[in-house]
Symmetry: C2
Subunit: 331 residues, 2 copies
């Protein structure tokens, strides 16, 4: 049976699962100081990037779960498809020791533009219906390569989690004639106790319904469907929110704070999404400084998250971490 | 704001999240040999269980995410409810060093009867609509108490994952007049390459659409909605399948193999579920003997699992582990 990237249909869950067994085969013995996400230094050991200067770099993952070159899904007892999608790596900066928290507002503004550019570019391909930029940060979420980077998955369908959130947003929009997330944000602002950052265009808050103890969402206050619809000042607000949240995370226990960050925007399938509201969700794996929140029975098998803390307490902890986003590092 | 167990509505995902901040407060300094799930030995340090003999014991979790005693959900900017549910602990045996793999077929048959008994008993309460027995096994899934035990969560609603699977089963049943899982099992039997155990009444297999590399499902071959509808020989088949799968897991790398195991049956809300098919799903956290499968961007934010191996390969590995379920330990 072919091990090429392919999808199989999961009939009980009603969703696709991706298989790419070639991904295990990566063998490579670089020198110890070798950083595959840094610029090439020794031509005998080329990195993923050429020599030279860049601020943000994007390239296709060499061992992707999905590729537009996928052909011939194996015949099976369930429906299968070639895994026609795109997996890209986004290198946030040349500096291997940087992180979103240490990058300048200008640099983060550029990163938001890159996510927008890639979303438009990938989304314009007829195969692609949804583009998901995300960052897995820290060994606790399985990342061993510390050069600051994220990934972009471009799917040939709207994957289950965004699909579910869009369905909820569409229903609310039909019934109330306004955006579900914009409505929640207005309530978060009025309540105020979980807000971490706010300016004229953007907000960061521990959502009232946080599933992870230190979960934070970042969004433009007004509904904007995707990155490229942001005004320059909204985008700048999001850059400042990004820096504020990640500085507070790192400041909480005075160490690099791991998380999964994902950006949800409108699908790229050409339909209208007046109800879609661009935003980022951070899922940090820690529940206290020395305890991870494991996803176990009720979360993974039931789908109901049980949170041992209340969002108001965790928001207060983050509010109390003093940060100055003007103290930026320039390159 | 009250820290009592309560639910908050997550409007974007359309699901409930449970909060119970009192769970962090557990302070207790027992002697080092103290096992809270063993029978009481020293009356100065009572365990959760009295002295004396038992095969399987069930008690209510002292720090539950849900309790029928929950009152007064805090007012909030989203809908809230008291977390009226039940969280029970099921101690599988008195022997702290045992596991499902080492228990006798008779003992596992009894455990299946206990799960059935609790599902009926908890499900008969008007507040409860779904009963989910599960076992989190191993430090890799966050379990530090090694006495063999599982948990039962009884929810006042059908939680998202079973709800989704029931929806898929209901649609298939309406369209085809037969059970979705029974149909998949018939195809797995005809194909044969992923079957791990099979007798007249029960089957264990790596599903063709496995999301976790070593995922295994156990089910009666014919559709049975819940534990108490099993015939004695079907139940015995499931007991033998349980022992076979867990022995193969432990035999794979000659060490205790961690997993999350959950049993999905029909809801207990009094409606008819002719399409429901009782089964267990095992989600093991390892993808190779020394590498965990981390759930990251595409799994947690997208909801699409990417599996680095194909189910046929992992099934072959498990098939090749020779086990004898007659070599049982009797107590």
């Amino acid at each position: 049976m072919s091990a090429n990237p392919h999808f199989r249909w999961h009939p009980l869950r009603g969703e696709w699962v991706a298989y790419a067994s070639h991904r295990q085969g990566r063998t490579f013995l670089p020198p110890p100081e070798y950083n595959p996400l840094g610029p090439t230094v020794d031509p005998a050991f080329p990195t993923e990037l050429p020599e030279g200067k860049y601020d943000v770099a994007v390239f296709e993952n060499r061992f992707p779960s999905m590729t537009l070159a996928a052909r011939d899904a194996p015949a099976s007892i369930v429906e299968t498809l070639p895994a026609k999608g795109v997996c890209e790596v986004v290198v946030f900066t040349r500096d291997a020791r940087a992180s979103i928290a240490t990058l300048s507002i200008d640099h983060l503004d550029l990163l938001l533009q890159v996510w927008g550019d890639r979303t438009r570019e990938l989304g314009s391909r007829p195969e692609i219906e949804y583009v998901l930029p995300f960052e897995n940060k820290g060994v606790e979420v399985g990342v061993t390569l510390h050069h600051p980077h994220g990934q972009i998955y471009a799917y040939p369908f709207v994957p289950p989690v965004p699909a579910r959130m869009l369905e909820q947003q569409a229903r609310f929009y039909r019934e109330k004639g306004k955006g579900l997330l914009a409505d929640l944000i207005a309530r978060e602002i009025a309540d105020g106790q979980r807000v971490i950052y706010q300016d004229d265009g953007a907000i960061a808050f521990v959502p009232v319904c946080a599933r992870y103890p230190y979960e934070v969402w970042i969004a433009p206050i007004e509904p904007v469907a995707t990155f490229e619809d942001l005004s320059p000042s909204q985008r700048r607000g999001l850059a400042r929110a990004l820096k504020t949240v990640t500085l507070k995370y790192d400041g909480l226990w005075n160490r690099s704070f791991p998380y999964l960050m994902a950006w949800f925007s409108a699908p790229t399938d050409g339909k209208a999404y007046p109800h879609a509201h661009l935003h980022a969700q951070f899922y940090p794996p820690y529940r206290t400084s020395d305890r991870l929140k494991y996803l176990a029975g009720t979360e993974l098998a039931g789908g109901m998250f049980a949170n041992d803390s209340i969002p108001e307490e965790k928001a207060r902890e983050l509010q109390e971490v003093a940060v100055s986003i003007e103290e930026t590092v320039h390159f």
